[in-house]
Amino acid sequence: MNRNYDVIVAGGGHAGIEAALATARLGLRTALVTLRIDTIGKMSCNPAIGGLAKGHLVREIDALGGEMAKLTDRAGIHFKILNKSKGPAVWSPRAQADRLQYSRIARQVVLSQPNLEVISASVNGLKVTDGKVVAALLNRDEWIPCRALILTCGTFLNGRIYIGLNSFSSGRAGEMPVRGLTEALVELGFISGRLKTGTPPRVHRDSLDYRQMEEQPPDRPPVPFSFQTDTLSQEQLSCHITHTNQQTHEFLRMGLDRSPMYTGLISGVGPRYCPSIEDKVVRFSDKERHQLFLEPDGFDNPEVYVNGFATSLPEDIQYKALRSVAGMERAHIIRLGYAVEYDFFPSYQIQHTLETKNIAGLYFAGQINGTSGYEEAAAQGLMAGINAALKLQDQPPLILDRSRAYIGVLIDDLISKTILEPYRMFTSRAEFRLLLRHDNADLRLMETGKEIRLLPDAAYRRMLNKRQKIEQLLEHTARTSISPQRFNELAKKTNSSFITQSVPMRQLMRRPEISLKDLLEAAELDDGYSHDELVHVEFVIKYEGYLKRQAELVEKFKKMEHQSIPAEFNYHTVSSLSSEAREKLSKIRPASLGQASRIAGVRHGDITVLLIYLEKYFRSQEPVSRETL
């Protein structure tokens, strides 16, 4: 067979889909290589997209022209904005998706994408010539030439599943792992590591007694994920909440001697933010109960995902413990919980474009970089795809900095931090949280999405329209005054103080108790502004001082980011760096002083030292003294 591609994407998960769609849409002949076509877009863990900070990522993916938000809108069965009681900056959309439908739609999108071919196989090796990827080895017998190779292998690299003291090779429950690729990469000089993650048992919905649980209904009406979706029409389902109890904990403790974690069978490090239930019971032994969140798998599939009960304890313990929980006394487990251990490649080996430092044309995205989560994976897949395409088309790379997007925070963290556990996004990782809201992802990124030609024109025009309306409304509030007659009625309702003469609306907006929507209504100026537009304008006015301060911090941050460090800079000549800093800096090779300052182990003093040296270095780079180098 004579096959020839610009880009090969290895893996059809959430990273792979975004990567392959992006390169294909940007005009490159792309092959998506996946073990089984029917598992494209499979949700291996819980059937939910988004959540705190992750929802921000999905909105950003959407603003750049990625697919995840649209898929979620089409397959979603339960939409909810989380953190509604807190400030708008941390509101985060989450949706439960119908697992089978999500995968079906994803497959359909991928298979119908021009320029994109799907190959059912595994990538087991790669050929590198002159430091550049030239071909991928499929099924250990066929070399397929390519100009870029994007690896999005998830947990499949030498994956091993653990249930109790039993273990077997597997990439995901019931699926084969990928062998040989890790070894091929190690041979090329990459360093690999081992991580672990876990998943809870899935139970049959008909075996549960929901009456003993607390119902968590979705938002009504549901708010869509994608800036391009107008309304959602699917039927919506509820989730349910129940709790473990002392009896449950007792059962779990009885199984610890057969735990692959506690007996040391698993060496990989698991995520602390997503601990197994046995871990919670051991580490927080004084807690009387732990919350379990039951997520429906969809309409057709009767599985229910017991979120909060990740475990790798043996079957008998899983049964006993689960059945001691209120409403689960007769629970029938369809699939046992398990832990999976897999290879990853510590992410200091990649650059901000997600291209590896050692081999040109080779990109890593998703769990292979030590992250966890569909959203984190998709964001990387998208950025790897975009950057692979830009490079092959001789365009400058797309690097989003930490002040522009959670995606920027994510990738910069991956490159600068030592990953010791699967990395997950949190809002607290973002320094400029007030600026990076989910509702303004379009305003922040669509310009870029259009520039790289990935975002549909219609979406861009929508954003322009929104921006225009926002500006209009801002001007409106600044210019228009409201009379006492109109305002004081609202003041009475909201316990606000009365006014005696007309006051500009913007001034009244500064009162915490006065909302923009109410004010517009009182002034009879409600001109059909969308929810997002109102939220934005209200935020900009009420948080004016804080936004200004944050903008100043961004300026300061950018200064440090622009202090670039030459790639060939030799840290070993800088004797006054601490040895830890010298080692870390040599390993990570930060692109800027700003990035250097975020590396663990690099201290304030080290940065001062670097500043002095860089100044000397650049001076010594001047033509006069070139020969002395």
Binding site: N46, L52, N83, G87, G605
Partner: protein, 464 residues
């Protein structure tokens, strides 16, 4: 090859110039040992590390002996600068010192710039920024108390205190952040009043530190001590015993001290500038002449006043003048001590009783015999300490950069409290705490978002 000038070996006299028994010439750098061995016998080897070796320093070429010296070699990195350090203790004679330095320079060393040893120590991570600044202060410290306070900064007590404050803010921040990032869980939400009072405690701690800045300033810049009393009450004698030398003209005739006399001395470790005014009569005249305003300015610029009376006689019109003056212009503005001089001449109980009404500490002394002078010195120190709300062992802020950082951190914490009380968005509250952490980070070192997450994971059972 690109390289920093740390490859230089630097040399300098590290004890103060001037008279003394021993002087120490210090060299630091990779060639320090080699340079020494060209001018010192017996030659030192690596196993002489941290041992005192007696020998002679001689000229490189003529081998002529310059001085018998004790040399200590501190091998890198266990040295003050982190580099190889040689300390040559020679006899303190400017000619000897100069010759030794000359010889090391012709061997390849370079005369160090001021503070360069400390700069190297800082660059080699032998100390953090606050410690490096403390070194400068130790060297500059003129007095015992000032020195002790700089030493406390150098040994890290100050850094430790800041770290503790940082840790407490980190605890608060983790509560807020946990609530923002993990509210999907059934986390026990923090109690607002508890957070508020914990934040207040941190503010109080910072306040206490900030308050020491004034005291720190006293230690650095000196205390102005003003002597007030009628002519011939013994101000000049008191000045003399406090300064321990004959300076002011002492005479039996009232009004001998015509001008202000200023003297510098050290009392209980405080650098003190004693100002002996002319007698109170003149002072009052002066007030009349110059106007109360200017005279008051003079009073208010002092840190402590000694109001001097005679214990063996009833109060006279001049004394009453002074008492009126103290009540009217000094009380509650500047602390003062009531000094009853001439206790060797007897005691008038009425005088003591009347002076008690001034409600200031009373010390009976005799400047002539020196009776109770030590007690007076103690009392002076106590007044200065009480006024600054300090104990002797307190960590003191002496550096303007630190004060500024603490001020800003305090401001952020205040904003945090106010914001929380008015129900402000937690994202904003969290950013105030971040700012506070950042400002304190400018003093010692930063707290990262990773530290914050680590703390959250260790405190809360998060994650579904």
């Amino acid at each position: 090859m690109f390289s920093y000038s740390n490859d230089d070996t630097i040399v300098a006299l590290s004890t103060p110039p001037g008279k003394g028994a021993i002087a120490i010439v210090r060299m630091s750098g990779s060639r320090a040992l080699a340079i020494l061995n060209e001018i010192f016998s017996p030659p030192l080897a690596e196993d002489h590390n941290r041992k005192a070796v007696t020998g002679s320093v001689h000229h490189r070429d003529s081998q002529k002996v310059i001085d018998e010296c004790v040399v200590i070699y501190y091998q890198s990195p266990r040295s003050y600068t982190g580099e190889d350090v040689i300390e040559i203790s020679c006899h303190c004679n400017p000619i000897i010192i100069d010759q030794i330095i000359q010889q090391t320079v012709s061997g390849g060393a370079r005369v160090a710039q001021p503070g360069e040893f400390t700069k190297r120590a800082f660059l080699n991570h032998k100390m953090d920024l606050s410690q490096a600044e403390a070194v400068a202060a130790v060297i500059a410290a003129k007095t015992r108390a000032g020195l002790a306070c700089s030493l406390r900064q150098l040994d890290g007590s100050f850094s430790q205190l800041i770290t503790e404050i940082q840790q407490e803010i980190l605890n608060l921040a983790s509560l807020i952040e946990a609530n923002l990032d993990f509210n999907e869980e059934d986390l026990q939400v923090y109690e607002k009043p508890e957070i508020l009072s914990r934040a207040q405690e941190v503010v109080n701690k910072i306040d206490k530190l900030l308050h020491t800045y004034d005291y720190g300033r006293l230690l650095k810049e000196g205390v102005k001590l003003l002597l007030l009393g009628k002519p011939n009450v013994g101000k000049s004698s008191l000045l003399n015993v406090l300064v321990e030398k004959e300076r002011a003209i002492v005479s039996e005739l009232p009004g001998t001290t015509r001008d202000y006399i200023e003297e510098f001395t050290q009392i209980e470790g405080f650098p003190i500038q004693i100002v002996d005014t002319a007698g109170i009569r003149e002072t009052l005249d002066m007030i009349e002449e110059m106007g109360v305003k200017r005279a008051l300015k003079h009073i208010e610029s002092s840190d402590l006043i000694l109001a001097i009376f005679e214990i063996h006689r009833p109060l006279d019109a001049d004394d009453l003048h002074l008492i009126h003056y103290l009540n009217r212009y000094v009380q509650k503005k500047v602390p003062f001590l009531v000094i009853l001089n001439k206790s060797d001449l007897g005691t008038d109980h009425h005088t003591i009783e009347s002076l008690k009404e001034l409600r200031s500490p009373i010390v009976e002394v005799s400047a002539r015999t020196g009776r109770n002078i030590e007690l007076l010195k103690q009392q002076i120190k106590n007044s200065l300490l009480i006024d600054s709300g300090l104990e002797e062992e307190s960590v003191v802020v002496t550096n303007a950069r630190h004060k500024q950082a603490l001020d800003k951190a305090r401001h952020a914490l205040k904003n945090f409290r106010r914001g929380m009380q008015s129900g402000m968005d937690e994202v904003v509250l969290a950013s105030e705490l971040r700012s506070a952490l950042d400002y304190l980070g400018e003093i010692i070192g930063e707290v990262s978002s990773e530290d914050l997450l680590n703390y959250i994971f260790s405190q809360f059972c998060v994650g579904k």
